[in-house]
Subunit: 104 residues, 2 copies
């Protein structure tokens, strides 16, 4: 689970699609395949890459494996981007709104 693992995991558009789908709600590998044209082994391999990157967590439930977003990977990569926040043209207003959200 290194910075490099995370960037390389997110470099693949299929894996980003998987991650984005998991961000809406946690689900198992079969459910993840719905709507994404991909074979079962390919999905399994992608999930392994995402898991090794710390972007996804797995939890066995009988013969199913439930997957969910792992905050650790996101935190690590958010830290990387924070180093360059000076270059972000982010509006202060948008940040204030975000802060308000988090306070609630």
């Amino acid at each position: 689970m290194t910075e490099n693992d995370i960037f390389r995991a997110l470099a693949d558009p299929t894996r980003r699609a998987i991650f984005e789908k998991l961000a809406t709600r946690s689900m198992n590998a079969s459910a993840l395949r719905e709507g994404i044209a991909i074979s079962q082994p390919a999905m399994s391999q992608h999930l392994t890459v995402l898991r090794n990157a710390g972007l996804v967590r797995e939890e066995r439930q009988g013969r199913f494996v439930n997957y969910q977003v792992d905050p650790e990977g996101l935190a690590l990569i958010a830290q990387w981007f924070a180093k360059y926040r000076a270059y972000w043209p982010t509006r202060v207003d948008a940040l204030k709104a975000l802060l308000k959200d988090m306070d609630q």
Copy 2:
């Protein structure tokens, strides 16, 4: 300059090193090579990738080409991460400090 271009550009550790070096101060391609074991053509190719991703801007100055961080690419990718900010374990205090910095 798509989301995919940016992620793929950042997937390479050498390109991240180049970008990080440029984030400290803008410089030309020769100066960028110092400290990074890389040939001149390889550096040129990496800079092309970073430029196409919108992560870097170039500005001709005589026979030199000065490179600097382009905020556009960072903004686009920051937007992507913002979608998953709900998963970030970011401290509210850290955000408040950031907000304070930006107000100044």
